[in-house]
């Protein structure tokens, strides 16, 4: 059913060289930036965004217009930071957008910066995306030469500067205050909140941190009007979303769909379903931090509120699908090891909790597990949530807790096994 897929951000990828400014401009690119700066006031632009009910596409799903409205009117300089530190297990949408359509991101950032009254925007690109960084650098150079970045844009008094910053390998820098610390040249350790970045962010000034995909939608919302976006899908979480589907599916990839599609449609109609002869065992609907959903959830509507209601979260929109060949002990171990490795170590529950869960799972996989380990994992997992500075500590537990309840037999099976060394 190809009509389920609605290419907006992904339109032209694989057909056109959208890295070239001329090609992007021929598609109507930078026209909305010109319109915003030359014809509209910042207030009008942010009203359009507010009216569209656009919610953040990076993970938390916070309404973008509301986030902007938290900036205090205190005459201080303001910053817009675009978060392209995509590292959530299973997510690969920003990677594609960065490498394929950098101008869309630049235009979105500049419109966003204009709307909030910022004159210097930053984009934080994950260290591993070296190629993406080079592509973005060239795109920014083209945009600067074409007069979209710099001083007195389009004959007005508006000045917009854009700096690309490349990280150096740390998942925690995707957390907004960790990102700001990293951008300031510090260790990427999240800050205590409040004060929130909207009050005290980059260099201590009011700052908005938005995801790549969120900002990239802005030119299209400007072009088609806020109603166009707000009318699609459920009222409280409307619009389109790029969903990264991977794992045990026939056609893994990025699929841009209207929210409100069901999880079944995403897996079977967009991603081609499971491999022949396999049965469905579960799906992670929102990246490594989200709890696993099972067969009974297949008809849940894929939007922020419905997925939360089903006991998981939409997160960054990354679906990892599991069929009956999945070893859920190893799958949990891969994620727990990830969170344990990426914990910045500031908060004890996250640093120690992740570490001990990893060690316990290692022992189970080694064949040295004891019966009580399963109960220990169940109890320990619930003691991590809500006790940390940032959401990383809260992300350790959901997947493990959901699969150990559902597939306890898989964990128990390991415990009865004789000693066996598993490659780690």
């Amino acid at each position: 059913m190809p009509e389920l897929i609605t290419p907006i951000l992904t339109k032209g990828i694989g057909e056109l060289n959208l890295r070239d400014l001329a090609v992007y401009a021929a598609q109507g690119g930078y026209e909305q930036l010109r319109r915003a700066i030359a014809e509209l006031s910042p207030k009008a632009v942010s009203d359009i965004c507010n009216g569209s009910n656009l919610r953040g596409r990076g993970g938390a799903g916070f309404p973008t217009g509301r986030k902007w409205s938290f900036l205090p009117n205190n005459g201080h300089p303001r910053y817009l930071v675009c978060n392209c530190d995509e590292a959530e297990p299973g997510t690969f949408k920003d990677h594609m957008l960065l490498e394929q359509t950098p101008h869309q991101i630049i235009e979105g950032m500049l419109i966003g910066a204009y709307a909030i009254g910022c004159t210097h925007a930053y984009i934080y690109i994950r260290g591993e995306f070296k190629r993406g960084y080079e592509i973005m650098r060239d795109a920014v150079r083209q945009a600067r030469d074409a007069g979209f970045i710099g001083e007195k844009l389009f004959g007005t008094d508006t000045n917009l500067e854009l700096t690309i910053h490349r990280g150096a390998g740390a998942y925690i820098c995707g957390e907004e205050t960790g990102l700001l610390n990293s951008l300031e040249g510090k260790r990427g350790e999240p800050r205590l909140k409040p004060p929130f970045p909207a009050v005290k962010g980059l260099y201590g000034e009011p700052t908005v941190v938005n995801n790549v995909e969120t900002l990239a939608y802005l030119p299209y919302i400007m072009r088609n009007g806020s109603e166009w976006f707000a009318k699609v899908g459920p009222e409280r979480s409307p619009g389109y979303k790029v969903v990264s589907i991977s794992g045990h599916v026939v056609k893994p990839g990025n699929y841009e769909v209207a929210l409100g599609i069901t999880i079944r449609q995403l897996i079977y109609d967009c991603a081609g379903g499971l491999r022949p002869g396999r049965t469905f065992m579960g799906v992670q609907p929102g990246g490594g931090s989200s709890a696993c959903l099972f067969e009974e959830h297949l008809d849940v509507s894929y939007d922020f509120d419905s997925v939360t209601k089903a006991g998981s979260m939409l997160g960054s929109g990354a679906m990892v699908v599991f069929d009956d060949t999945t070893d859920f002990v190893k799958a949990s171990y891969a994620l727990i090891r990830f969170f344990s490795h990426e914990s910045c170590g500031q908060c004890t529950p996250c640093r120690e909790g992740g570490h001990w869960l990893q060690r316990t799972l290692e022992r189970i996989l080694d064949g040295r597990g004891v019966d009580s380990d399963v109960d220990v994992i169940k109890s320990a997992a619930h003691q991590l949530t809500g006790l940390n500075l940032c959401a990383l500590g809260d992300s350790i537990e959901p997947f493990l807790a959901s699969v150990i309840t559902r597939y306890e037999d898989q964990f128990r099976a390991y415990i009865k096994r004789p000693a066996q060394r598993v490659a780690v």
């Binding site: 190629r131 994620l335 170590g345």
Partner: protein, 278 residues
């Protein structure tokens, strides 16, 4: 003219000016290599460094980009580079080291010319990454976080690289390599060994050691739990295994400094210390 005032005004002196004013030892206190190889590199990079710092509103923001820059030319962040970065951003070398040690892509020791990083996270694992990693380890001949004896390749298993649709995936010198199979690993390694691989090698100014990891990823995050494998018996108050923990602590020389017993012990062994006290 001192480094202090230069740092305060944001003027970055050229290497000759620095050497003339304070002597090279002051801004590169850990000179490792003979000659002026690093000074020449610094002079060569200076035109890039200045705009790099200028694009931020505070100098310290340039810390990570500068570390990337020096690593691109030296293969790792050398002690010289570290000292120069500290000077350029107006921080102490300790602060710079603390910062760069947080990030996994900045190497503080020399690495192989080809840094092979295979993804070990969920989507890749579901698509056979474990088998590919075992095969790659066997074919390269080193383990996780190790460099081959000839210094050609370093091998690391990393977390999600955001290419899950092309799993299992890897990065070689930060360039993506998708859809790994045994055959593609074979072809890649053969090309690297033959010097004909499409991805360029990293520069290598110093011969790498066995591993580039300083004290990271040993699996031992909390010192209190060294050598204890059971979270139920970690050695807390009222836990019978506390005795086990006590024995462990007493048995480990690195903890001896925390106890007064060490002084007694040491003076018994080295009488000259006891005399010096009186």
């Amino acid at each position: 003219m001192t480094t202090q005032s230069d740092a305060a005004t944001g003027v970055h002196p050229g290497p000759d000016a620095v050497a003339a004013a304070i002597g090279p030892a002051d801004w590169s206190p850990h000179v490792q290599r003979a000659g002026n190889a690093f000074d020449a590199l610094y002079a060569q990079l200076l035109p890039q460094i200045e705009p790099m710092i200028a694009q931020y509103e505070q100098k310290r923001s340039a810390l990570i980009p500068l570390a990337h820059l020096f690593q691109e030319h030296e293969g790792y962040v050398s002690a010289d580079a570290l000292a120069v970065i500290a000077h350029l951003v107006g921080e102490t070398p300790a602060t710079v080291e603390s910062t760069i040690s947080f990030y996994t892509l900045l190497f503080r020791r020399p690495v192989g010319k080809y840094m092979i990083q295979i993804c070990r996270n969920l989507s890749c694992m579901l698509n056979g990454a474990e088998e590919i990693m075992a095969y790659a380890r066997e074919q390269i001949g080193v383990q996780h976080h190790e460099t081959t004896a000839d210094g050609l390749m370093s091998y690391e298993e990393v977390e999600c690289l955001a290419a899950c649709d092309r799993a299992p995936c890897a990065q070689v010198n930060l360039e993506f390599v998708y859809d790994l199979t045994r055959e593609s690993v074979d072809a890649m390694l053969a090309a690297i060994r033959a010097g004909s691989y499409a991805i360029a090698p990293l520069p290598q100014t110093v011969r790498p050691g066995r591993s580039w990891k300083v004290a990271q990823d040993t699996g031992l995050k909390s010192a209190g739990a060294l050598g204890v494998s059971n979270p139920n018996n970690a050695g807390g108050v009222g836990d019978a295994s506390g005795l086990v923990m006590f024995d462990l602590i007493v048995g480990r020389p690195q903890y001896e400094t925390r106890s007064n017993e060490r002084l007694v012990h040491e003076t018994a062994l080295r009488p000259e210390l006891a005399e010096a006290d009186h």
